[in-house]
Symmetry: D2
Subunit: 434 residues, 4 copies
């Protein structure tokens, strides 16, 4: 039998602009960071196309994953002196925190929509499949990889452990709010993490928060709310997302129709056909995707070529707000006009909707149940957050949705062809905004 | 005659984590940012391989170029009320600031060493050649592109303008120190830019600084000094740089020797042959390079394959300090031993030297003359900085050089083959450190 | 006729930790800062007794007044290019911003409650009375002092100008939120002031905010909400406030009853008698008050002596939450018990209530009408903030009140005398918390 | 025998703007903070008259003392796992850190010069005399107060412990550089304390620093250097200091000459007579001093009155640089002219010199020996810092001195009396600057 991993002779530190330093004392964590699957996260941006809106947001999932690990490390350190905490769970927690995003591919959001991949499934495969990560985890015991995978999949028996990484206030969310705020440069994502960690207390099912720290938790919820509408759902980012999806759709469509690509898109074959192996999946990263997008700027298909040029040189679609019910009336006319002027409406007229539920109390039986945040009252009772906080109550359970209609305004404004039809389209679109 | 660019109807702003906001009022600047050559800078990291040492440093030259523009905008705003300033130069300055790095390719440092490209030459070609940028600049007048190119090339007649972008204290250096410190998370790069800008005064040949602001300038020089040794010359970054260069050398060598690549490296052909067109050059970015490095992990050539795996999974070389004179004695033996164990010393035993001259006073006739920084004394005289400042005096004109010997420690520590020879190599290497 | 003030030969700057630099170009402002009435603000803390809770909060009204001036300066700079803005108002605005707090005395809140002084009235007297400030203002014209006083009193004709200094989002509030957050060290008071200033537009009656900046305004309202409950109404600060008021009450009571003070409290005579001259008022500052408190530690009156010792050595009262209706029932018993054990309940059992209305829309006819914040919609319409923002709507018009009962727990816990009665008091008090 | 202090049931925290939180777990520390002698530090500013130059610098010694304690707490935490560290010293260290400035009085620098008090002696008296602090310390053992006093007096046997609070890089200096930079708003005082603490290693005589952290130590030395010349020796602060000293001199002189003060300066009697009791000393704080300065504005003595008005309303002296040797020549003439125009040169013409030795290596036998900073080399050797660092070498052992001549420029510029003599004085003074 081989030895298990122990403690590093000397602690390693990573300089991190968000948490100042990231501290690694466990050989296990050090080895996981060194695997090629984990290093691959350096080539996948944390915020997909957001860098086209906020130029500072060029950070990767590697960056974020270390941050989640560091927050978890501090959480566990705080927990270790408390009741309800099982010290055996320490390395499971740290590994799950580090690896929680390991299954993400390039521009996950769009890829998942177009190719029906599922990053959570891939996370599981990478942790349990034939990978360097699995081999490292195995050193800690035969069942260790499964434990880590179960925590990430939220099926782990110890629900407290699950809640630290997946709940309405967890290490993942705390890191991404702070980190994304830091890199985009917006001031909204700030909250007092140190205080939140200090008032956190382990309970059987989840971590709860001492009532005296309620305002720090409120502030975190508000940060989350602001970041969603200011950064994550920014209309320009969504425009880039729309174009990206349409590129993938077009490429898939062309492939299905036996189009001859100048440069064979071999990295996409298995995606197009829907049969992706782990090996294929791990080869995908944003460099590979951007390589193809650059190449496709030289393709003969005018739609693929145009969309790739748009993405690479950030010539995005413009948008109008739209009310889905009103819009239905003009839709047929719009489609007809687009076809008339030779613009395929499947690619050049796109509705995109975003919606956010900033905080939810528990409603058993609903599709995606989310455990509510509980406060620990001075008398030892637990109380659901929105019952104590006016501001959280105000935004609880309220889904806010926003619909936008994206289109290639530059083409429509080029009056050298079909001036009348284009004018009509523009006026129909502008009328949407009411 | 077409109209020239004017002022935007509404000022555009970019959120920037370093300068908070970047303000654009000129149509010219807005159009330049939108060109495909400028957008390409989004795919070239500002600090090359540094992200493998400081994971936060994933920012690109796009990010930095906007920052240099913003500093220049503030400089010009300050200058505009002063003597010696020609308002006609405003847009020349802003354009030069924005475009000063436009000629950079992927991992410039290594590429220039291996393929003898020169980013300054490419800058000139991009500004004066058949590009979107040239066409935008032309709107401002027939000679406008050349003016901008001349400023960047330091051949422009108005030396004051040149000094704002290329001197020992200019918009470029100020942005990169602040920005690289921000993204790496180190605290060394901080200095009081606002104060420096406030004490800056235009003189005929260069900008000078009021004596009352000397300490802010001193602090800037010290930041620069610290950043060089803490970040820019970090030995781990240099290790990645060494591997990167060796990959390029190997690929070129294989190409020259008619090696059959599995996937044709067509983006490299013109680099290998030394005849690069502007069109070819503009296709190069870090996505493309990383695409190939990923592919080359599957090549048959063991050296190319190994080096690419190392780079992609950050399995870098280790190093020892070495004194070039002492090292000469053991060099023949080392070479022999490397050959004996089957490791090509051309790729696996590399000396890398870094040296820095943190501040220099003017020494006419030397190879790279650098204009010294001058202080404006209360009585109107000018005085060279190091004559007033003890700390600057201390580091003036002193070139500091550091030599390191990089090698694949992991291979040498694998004792399954050639244990005796490897042991000998390791002991020779460790002895270098004295 | 004497000359009016003009522009300083060279701009003066103050280093400020909140706004980085405070810029002064106008002789008028420079002269106002130099008056002895303005310098007196250096001896009056911005947050009264808060430094006993947050030790960092030792900053003064001098500090804050410069900050409000600086924000106003930036506001006016932004306004100057817009419609609806009268450039003649510039110096009126800057002077009013600088002087808006000039009438504050030491620990204003408690002094006003006990001695019925009114800092707004004193502001008027200082600006219009026989002071250095009045003489400086007069240089700008006979009616200039009155203009400045009217702006601060909100009676000025130009309501836009009034709104910049007194509204739900003005230079005063913006500075104190940022500044108090900075000095206390809490993270709640942060918001993006730069963005708010950028989206501000002058209208006839008030400044409004472009809809695109709504989230920055929301964030400001939330900061305000958090700062009130986390800092301004902190129960420990209120405990110090309670003791301070009781000291003043006691001293006044003793004076009315011909008590012989060891050291004559001559600075208090006019306060005690209710006939305060401007000269007397200007002599009051926190040094003077603390001088007396220190002296009174040696007085014979046990209540005055004890309360002063408590204040000087921060031995504050403890508190329980109390519901005013429930509390009425036990009140008579408590009073009786206090008297029995020899503790005067007028000084040792105190109810303190705080309430806050974080944001209010306009309800004509109510006692303190506050102009609501308006958003400027893309089509030019104005819209009241809470109609657009969920979170602001949630807290609009909702007064939140909090009642606390303060008492000298240390005395009650000293069981060497009246153990039974004290035990009973403690159990009655603790029962309040339910 | 009574019990010793133990651990608090729940850790207490103070929100601190510099270190974010200050953590107190020990009852001993909590009790010390609550003593009246420690609370008195809230009424003594950390930087004396500096708030008249940098308005943000209103923080007190209370604020700083907590900060030094917190840094010491972290240092000890780091040490606890290392060799050479005696765990018994923990509470001695923490107490000494907290109390190291307890002997300071108001505006110490000037008071010590004029009245020959010595804050180090008073520190000893407060720790060992009849005080609340002594009583709290005694709980830890009969000899505990003396241990703490010895550490502060640098006579403690364990030199390592002494070095943590008094050396060229100690908890005291680290806190004040960071804190004073924070409150003044200057950017010079920043350095990476976290890194310095991480590379600190206990040795028998002192703490040393791992060579890998040399640059952080360098940066700290440079911060110190910059703060001295930018903040601590700022000429405007020194002007206020000059006036303050002259007020004290004048009051003492008047007292010696039986001058009848309108309001008896009883707090000063023992200072004037040179026989100060501990009780008298503890009554002195800045409120008391400012109370008298305010009163003295109404005295009949024109010099005392004028100087107090100047101090209270910040009407300071102006200055010229002066070379002490040249100045000697014109001194007699200046004195004569001052007397002629009726200005007492003892109060209105003052030379002030500042000098700083930013870093010193050990020179045995010199008057104030300072232990040099040592680096711990990879091979275990120790090496003095300036031998490894160019920049530190540059400023080592070099005393820099600056002489200024302060005078009441406003009086000299009032040409209504003695115009010729005043003109002559001004020209002599201006000529000093060469």
């Amino acid at each position: 039998m081989t030895r298990r991993f122990g403690t590093l002779e000397e602690e390693k530190v990573f300089k991190d602009p968000v948490h100042r330093y990231i501290h690694v004392r466990d050989e296990l964590i050090w080895e996981l960071i060194g695997t090629k699957e984990f290093q691959r996260l350096r080539r996948i941006r944390q915020l997909g196309t957001t860098f086209l809106t906020f130029h500072g947001a060029e950070h990767t999932r590697f960056n974020h994953s270390l941050g989640v690990y560091e927050i978890m490390r501090r959480m566990v350190e705080n927990m270790e002196e408390r009741e309800n905490w099982d010290p055996e769970e320490r390395l499971v927690c740290l590994s799950a925190a580090l690896l929680h995003d390991i299954g993400h591919g390039p521009f996950s959001h769009s890829f998942e929509k177009v190719f029906h991949t599922d990053h959570e499934e891939w996370t599981r495969e990478i942790i349990l499949g034939d990978t360097e990560i699995k081999n490292v985890l195995l050193v800690m015991g035969e069942d260790f990889p499964k434990k880590v995978a179960d925590v990430i999949a939220k099926t782990y028996e110890n629900k407290l452990v699950v809640s630290l990484i997946s709940s309405q206030i967890d290490a993942d969310r705390m890191d991404y709010l702070l980190r994304d705020a830091f890199y985009t440069g917006v001031s909204y994502g700030q909250f007092d993490m140190e205080r939140i960690l200090r008032v956190m207390r382990p309970k059987e099912d989840q971590a709860v928060f001492k009532h005296s720290g309620m305002h720090a938790v409120e502030d975190y919820i508000m940060s989350r709310y602001q970041m969603y509408w200011q950064v994550y759902f920014h209309p320009v980012t969504r425009s880039a997302e729309v174009i990206l999806s349409k590129i993938l759709h077009r490429a898939k469509h062309l492939y299905s129709n036996k189009y001859k690509f100048k440069d064979k898109p071999k990295h996409f074959y298995s995606l197009f056909s829907g049969k992706i192996t782990l090996e294929d999946y791990l080869k995908l990263d944003e460099s590979v995707i951007l390589y193809y997008f650059q190449e496709w700027q030289n393709e003969d298909d005018p739609i693929l070529k145009d969309l790739c040029e748009r993405f690479m040189s950030r010539r995005l679609f413009k948008y109008v707000e739209c009310d889905p019910s009103i819009q239905m009336k003009v839709w047929p006319e719009l489609i007809e006009l687009f076809i008339k002027i030779g613009l395929d409406p499947n690619y050049y007229l796109v509705i995109d909707s975003s919606s956010d539920l900033p905080y939810d109390f528990y409603r058993p039986g609903e599709e995606e149940e989310r455990l509510p945040i509980h406060l620990l009252m001075p008398n030892g009772d637990l109380r659901e957050l929105s019952r104590e906080s006016d501001v959280v109550e105000a935004i609880s359970g309220k889904k806010r949705t926003d619909h936008k209609l994206y289109f290639a305004k530059d083409i429509l404004e080029d009056q050298s062809t079909f001036p009348k039809e284009k004018q009509r389209i523009l006026s129909l679109l502008i009328a949407q905004e009411g």
